[in-house]
């Protein structure tokens, strides 16, 4: 082992993990279980949980995948805030006690595994994809669409959402009203509505501006505070409200969806780019 590797694996301190354990089919109610975990340099909360599973308790359950803040699987309630377990180092929590619970506002499947079905159902309800009025163009797009950099900036930050559910678990309105569409789905509804390539604003408005849509937001801003990707759902909701207000009083700009860019004349493919493989699914 090299000197730096030995330094990296050296135990800096020990912390007490208090992990919420619950098996709905077996336990009467959730309870906190304690583990003492040796902390090494760069060790994340997810690493801590893995250490517990490897050395202390093989029955501990959670959900994780990429370990680098991309997949959004390991959302947990860590020391009083919804966070991703994989991108929060234990030393940065500045505490000798790490309390880990499943995300609030969701049912518990087991231990730290939340049931995210409501999140995905709401996400699906806002039709989170580009909609074109022309069904042919919708199903078999013929080319790229024009879009300026400025038009891209209107929605790009909202496109960074990884569907981790942290915003939903931080939202005080989601906590009290299960019908509320919630910051994640509303942000995605606005992300596509604000996209100039989209023609589905009317379809999406049914959910976005419903009785339990953007107007139930109390603007607490907790969703924006906890987002691990820097998305600002509170802003998306306010922009959606502003757009609706201007539309009600006919003060909005009537924009047209962008069109398909015509093929470029005299276009020659870059020889260095390998040719795409043939489709594996037959087109009917």
């Amino acid at each position: 082992m090299s000197g730096s590797a030995a330094q990296d694996s050296a135990v800096i301190k020990t912390v007490r993990f208090e992990v919420l354990r619950y098996n709905p089919g077996k336990d009467a109610e959730p309870k906190l279980q304690q583990y003492v975990v040796p902390v090494t340099k760069g060790m994340t909360v997810l690493d801590g949980l893995t250490w517990i599973k490897e050395h202390e308790d093989r029955t501990l359950s959670w959900r994780s995948s990429c370990r680098m803040g991309i997949c959004g699987s390991c959302g947990m309630f860590i020391n009083g805030l919804p966070r991703l377990a994989c991108n929060n180092q234990i030393v940065n929590l500045h505490s000798n006690v790490v309390v880990v619970k499943p995300l609030p506002n969701f049912d518990i499947i087991r231990d730290l595994v939340p049931d995210l079905e409501s999140l995905f159902a709401k996400h699906r309800s806002v039709k989170p994809y580009l909609i074109r009025k022309d069904p042919v163009e919708q199903n078999l797009p013929t080319g790229e669409y024009f879009q300026s950099e400025r038009e891209l900036l209107n929605y790009i930050q909202f496109a960074y959402c990884i569907k981790c559910g942290l915003c939903m678990s931080a939202c005080p309105t989601v906590a009290t009203s299960e019908d509320y569409t919630g910051p994640q789905a509303l942000t995605q509804a606005w992300r596509y509505t604000a996209d100039t390539r989209d023609e589905g604003a009317k379809e999406r408005a049914k959910e976005l501006y419903s009785t339990h849509g953007v107007y139930r937001c109390h603007f607490a801003g907790a969703c924006s505070q906890v987002c691990p990707k820097g998305v600002d759902p509170a802003l998306a909701i306010q922009l959606a409200k502003k757009a609706a207000f201007l539309k009600v009083f006919s003060l909005h700009k009537r924009g047209r969806a962008t069109s398909v860019a015509p093929p470029v004349d005299n276009w020659v493919a870059n020889k260095d780019i390998p040719k795409a493989p043939a489709p594996t699914v037959k087109q009917e």
Binding site: S177, D179, A205, T211, Y215, K241, F245, K247, F249
Partner: protein, 123 residues
Amino acid sequence: MRESKLWAWHIVTAAIILVLLGLHMGVMHLGAILHALGIGAGHPTHADEVFRRSQQLFFMVTYILLLGAALFHGLYGLRSMLFELSLSKTAEKLIGGLCAVAGFALFIYGGYVAVAVFRLKGV
């Protein structure tokens, strides 16, 4: 779009209330100060002064406008709070209907009082 219209008017009525409550504060409190300084007619809360104001077209229109704005703003707010209780669609419709009926009835009653007092002018 219906919810958008209701919410947009909720915002507009908030702005109206802000202006009219500013006017109310001016009349009630600035009026009292002016009265104490010997400027202006009577004390703003004296019955004859209240009647004098109510019989002016400007105040009659202002009262009706404030009544309408406050009723709409308040009842929409109440409806929004109740809707967060995860009620059934039927209960939501019932609450919406009750708010609309209550608002309309109170507006008619309050408007009638404002117009009736205005029409006492010269009596």
